[in-house]
């Protein structure tokens, strides 16, 4: 479906653009508390109003996008850089004890409830954005390892891999030159899905106070801060909630759309 790809990319671009702009410019300083300007309604100076500390809501949302995206991006990066080589290596040594060790190790990580472990890590090492990244990133490793191995296995039976073996190439070289380029589609799609899950996980950790600490803005903490005022000032909860929903929806649509675009088999079916 072309629509999914379009809506997904528009939503994603919107949030990424907001995050990038927030790096150099914000409408208002979000670190400064101005009790005098608390809970202001929408105005020209504050398009979305202010929160209970008098901080500009739009600026908070923009900075929150930056935190979410940064955390999720690095977490996906950890998963990619550790998980993909592991998966490729397991596939190259399929059927041997190495494959078993790698994949059973993955199963062990899979067996733990990820959010509980994330809470454990941040509880032990203290809550911070960095620890949230680590916690989310670790659980991305087995996901990418599985996808990489699953994509690589059928390729290893193809004649061009056989030809490369006849040309004297070893497992590392074949994995890098022949296998990896032919599973990038799978990895890109999986990365967008993990990215959206990462944003959800970051929001959840921040919501319980184990993610990014003040004054760093975070959608999850905006939610928890505002929840006591949900009846009096509903927009303070609705807006960060909506931001999370739209960002995750956008990424999922983008992932689905990319899958359809990049997988020639699916494309042919739609013909």
């Amino acid at each position: 479906m072309k629509g999914a790809l379009l809506i997904g990319s528009v939503l994603t671009t919107l949030f990424v653009a907001a995050a990038l702009v927030s790096l150099i410019w914000l409408p208002h300083d979000i670190a400064r508390v101005d009790i005098g300007a608390r809970l202001m309604p929408a105005s020209l100076a504050h398009p979305l109003g202010t929160d209970h500390f008098g901080r500009d809501l739009l600026s908070m949302l923009m900075a929150g996008a930056r935190t979410s995206i940064a955390v999720a991006l690095v977490a996906v990066g950890i998963g990619l850089f550790a998980g993909v080589p592991l998966g490729l290596w397991a596939a190259a040594n399929r059927g041997t004890w190495l494959d078993e060790v790698i994949m059973r190790g993955n199963d062990v990580i899979f067996a733990f409830p990820s959010l509980v472990i994330a809470i454990l890590i941040t509880a032990v090492f203290g809550p911070s954005a960095l620890n949230a990244i680590l916690a989310i990133g670790i659980f991305n490793i087995p996901v990418f390892a599985r996808v990489a191995r699953g994509g690589a296995l059928p390729l290893w039976t193809l004649d061009y891999v056989m030809a490369a073996r006849v040309a004297g190439k070893g497992k590392v070289l074949i994995s890098a030159q022949h296998i990896l380029p032919n599973i990038t589609n799978l990895l890109i799609v999986q990365a967008t899905i993990q990215f959206s899950l990462g944003i959800l996980a970051e929001a959840a950790l921040s919501y319980v106070g184990l993610g990014a600490q003040p004054p760093t803005a975070s959608w999850g903490r905006m939610l928890s801060d505002a929840q006591t005022m949900i009846y009096t000032e509903p927009h303070l909860t609705v807006l960060p909630g909506l931001a999370i929903v739209l960002m995750v929806l956008g990424l999922n649509l983008l992932g689905d759309g990319l899958r359809d675009q990049l997988d020639p088999r699916l494309r042919r079916v739609r013909l």
Binding site: L158, D159, M162, R165, V166, G168, K169, P181, L271
Partner: protein, 519 residues
């Protein structure tokens, strides 16, 4: 000719505006086999799908396909449900994927019957009867597809197709995926069904030998049109249409004349044994390949020829025996320089290349063994020219080439390190006969010019006979017979070789003109 069961007149087909079939006329008579031959992409399968109402989306047809006074081409989907299975049924090429692996075969045969309202017990009873009919008396209904051999699975497919006693059975390359001996049995079965039950059979195939043996009538298709049709023997004898002549000529390459080859062995195997656990895939195999010689390796699937090939290429260790290449230790003991002396061309022209690499990079990959020479690019260009491609093809990607061209690229890649031995692993099996003939010519020419030795692995005896000086016959991991090509074919010694040669479908020699039987 009797009154046809199905009469196709002026059938034209466009898919998304692209013309696929043009004015196809074909009459299918009951109790007879109608052969439809042609190369890939000629429209044979599309004609069959039109008869089943299974054309892809975006198809527009004109003309008529008449069955009992109804035009099949204008039927609504609901009306098709009564025709498919009831009047017309179909079997496909690949028995491995035509059956659902999670259902027992009895249930799959009974499914068609149940759909048409038969009670469960009756359906099971008929399913049993049909299985007996296709020669699977000893096979229980609760077997699963994976418990059966390829030939048995194709029999189950046939049992499914004839479950409701259709009047027309369409068989699309029904034996292409099978071994020759299995193919002979399946063809016999189809022939019996036509003769005993008065069924009409539309046999679609690329193999003229199969058609010559099976069909009463033949239609020859080329690029979406029938170029010639008629009673089989008359059509073969007449050689009227140039395309039919070409096909015949290409499908019957002349046997290789006996020639003298030097007695210098380049590749030798002595008592080579490869075991997987308790199973022995290759059992004490010995042979020698001499300089400038073409040695055939024939055998059915599972006989161990692929395992032997991988061992010779040094991709798999052996548990016993010795491989020698150019007087040096072969197999896994080869150094990179030794490995450059032996190279390989695989069967599948589509799976042989990394789709993301340009030709220049693909064919220079074997330089990994020798270190990339300074003149790599010019050597790649030379290799391309040698196999009949243009140096300008260097920067194209594999998908821009046809199957035959891809096999040429594969040969160029195999030649780039200037090897002594070329292993051709079913290298022409996936090609159409005319393209196959061209590639075989190229191989023969390269052999004379470069003094190459070929190990030619194939299940296709016609090809082996056309290109090889000697042949090895392999069965259950062992070489059961070896000798000069004329001896293997004209006076086979062992019963297995005799069966193999008798099973291969051939065009009767008197049907061919002089120029097709002798070079």
């Amino acid at each position: 000719m009797t009154v046809p069961l199905v009469n196709i007149t002026d059938l034209s087909l466009r898919i998304h505006g692209t013309p696929i079939l043009r004015d196809v006329d074909l009459a299918i008579a009951p109790g007879q086999v109608t052969g439809l031959v042609g190369e890939s992409g000629s429209g044979k399968s599309m004609t069959a799908l039109a008869l089943m109402g299974l054309l892809p989306k975006g198809s527009q047809t004109t003309g008529a396909a008449d069955l009992d006074g109804t035009n099949l081409l204008t039927l609504a989907e609901r009306a098709w449900l009564n025709i498919r299975g009831n009047d017309i049924a179909m079997i496909f090429q690949e028995p491995m994927t035509a059956l659902n692996p999670v259902h027992p075969i009895g249930a799959q045969i009974a499914e068609t019957l149940r759909l048409h309202g038969a009670p469960r017990a009756e359906a099971a009873c008929i399913a049993r009867d049909r299985l007996d009919r296709v020669g699977l008396e000893g096979v229980a209904l609760d077997r699963y597809p994976h418990q059966l051999s390829g030939g048995q699975r194709q029999r189950v497919c046939i049992a499914m197709a004839i479950a409701r006693r259709p009047r027309l059975l369409i068989a699309d390359e029904p034996t292409t995926a099978l071994d020759v001996t299995t193919q002979a049995q399946i063809l016999d079965l189809l022939h019996d069904l036509v003769r005993d039950d008065g069924m009409a059979l539309l046999l679609i195939t690329h193999d003229l030998g199969v058609v010559a043996q099976m069909a009463d009538h033949v239609a020859v298709m080329q690029t979406g049109a029938i170029v010639e049709a008629g009673p089989t023997e008359a059509l073969f004898r007449a050689h009227r249409h140039p395309y039919t002549r070409d096909l015949l000529h290409a499908s019957q390459p002349p046997p290789r004349p006996a020639r003298k080859v030097a007695d210098t062995p380049v590749l030798q195997a002595r008592d080579v044994t490869r075991r997987y656990g308790a199973a022995t895939a290759v059992d004490r195999v010995s042979f020698a390949l001499h300089r400038g010689e073409s040695l055939g390796l024939v055998g059915e699937s599972g006989c161990g020829k692929s395992t032997l090939t991988r061992a010779l290429l040094g991709l798999e260790p052996v548990q016993g025996g010795q491989i020698t290449l150019m007087g040096r230790p072969g197999g896994t003991a080869m150094t990179p320089t030794d490995r450059a002396r032996i190279s390989v061309v695989f069967q599948d022209p589509y799976g042989s290349f990394n789709p993301r690499w340009p030709v220049a990079k693909l064919i220079t990959e074997p330089f990994h063994l020798t270190g990339r020479p300074d003149d790599a690019r010019s050597r790649a260009e030379a290799a391309l020219t040698k196999v009949g491609l243009a140096p300008s093809d260097m920067d194209k990607y594999p998908h821009e080439f046809s199957g035959g061209q891809r096999q040429r690229i594969a040969i160029a890649r195999a030649l780039i390190t200037r090897p002594d031995v070329l292993v051709l692993d079913e290298a022409v099996s996936a090609l159409d006969v005319r393209v196959r003939a061209q590639v075989l010519d190229l191989l023969a020419d390269l052999q004379t010019r470069l003094g190459l030795s070929y190990l030619f692995i194939s299940h296709d005896l016609t090809v082996i006979r056309a290109v090889c000086d000697r042949a090895l016959v392999m069965q259950a991991g062992q070489i059961v017979e070896q000798g000069p090509i004329h001896q293997i074919f004209d006076a086979p010694q062992t019963p297995y070789t005799q069966t193999l040669i008798a099973a291969a479908p051939t065009i009767p020699a008197p049907w061919l003109r002089k120029e097709e039987t002798t070079p």
